[in-house]
Symmetry: C2
Subunit: 127 residues, 2 copies
DNA sequence: GCTATCTGTGCATTTGTGTGCACATAAGCA
DNA sequence: TGCTTATGTGCACACAAATGCACAGATAGC
């Protein structure tokens, strides 16, 4: 055993639960594929756009791009609208920023409370 | 074509490049596995700890936990020290928070500039 | 020296993910 | 009614990732 249970407090338990709760696997996984990141970049530059246009210049097949856009949509990163026979995709910037903001807020206490290999010198004691 | 190239400005290009540059695949991938997330939670609650103790209660083999800890370390999320025959792992909270902060700062402009399916009503024009 | 403990790695297996092709569906157009 | 275009899906395949077992290297203690 390396620890002295000094971290067995409501403060750390709350931080742990918050971290677990905010680490949305579906959202994070959507951002781990290089092709999907390229799609995010393209949507920033192009704005709302149909699948064929988004696929332009990319090496992957159009069906592959369609699947990636679906994954991004299920993660909340993109939204889609039907326009005739086309389907227009667009970034949901506010949602993305909100999501990352929530992650940061949940993890922020770690900056002070989870310094690596640092003895706990609080609780009114002076090292 | 759905767009009118109104977004072909240095502002959007900079945001696109910033988004691509900050989306560290190795860092994000490390946080997409349920087992690794559990390890983060355990390290929050236990503090600096050796591999065997961290593996306690988890269904996976010790060797699997060892590999996951290595992945977390390569992503900068954990750090390790050798203590005799044990290897102590601990969270690098400041690095994690800094990383997420950089991501948020890079993506924050999207909240205003990438609202889904919203016509651009800036540039001094009034809708 | 020997033995026990801790850790990481090689190997094989299983599962998950990305990809491309062919095809079905839907919508516009002549 | 055909014909074309746009999109998504079923299927098979390739590759990466997670897992467990067995074992080797390192270290502590006898």
């Amino acid at each position: 055993m390396q620890n002295d249970n000094t971290k067995d407090t409501p403060e750390y338990k709350a931080m742990a639960d918050a971290a677990i709760g905010v680490l949305d696997t579906r959202f994070l996984k959507a951002l781990t594929d290089p092709t999907r990141i390229q799609l995010v970049k393209k949507l920033i530059l192009l704005g709302a756009c149909d699948v064929t246009t988004i696929s332009g210049g990319l090496s992957q097949d159009r069906s592959v791009i369609s699947r990636h856009l679906n994954i991004l949509e299920q993660a909340g990163i993109t939204a889609s609208r039907k326009d005739g026979r086309r389907v227009i995709y667009d970034l949901d910037g506010p949602y993305v920023v909100q999501k990352v903001t929530l992650i940061l807020e949940a993890l922020r206490p770690m900056a002070d409370l989870c310094k690596p290999f640092q003895a706990i010198v609080n609780k009114g004691e002076v090292a």
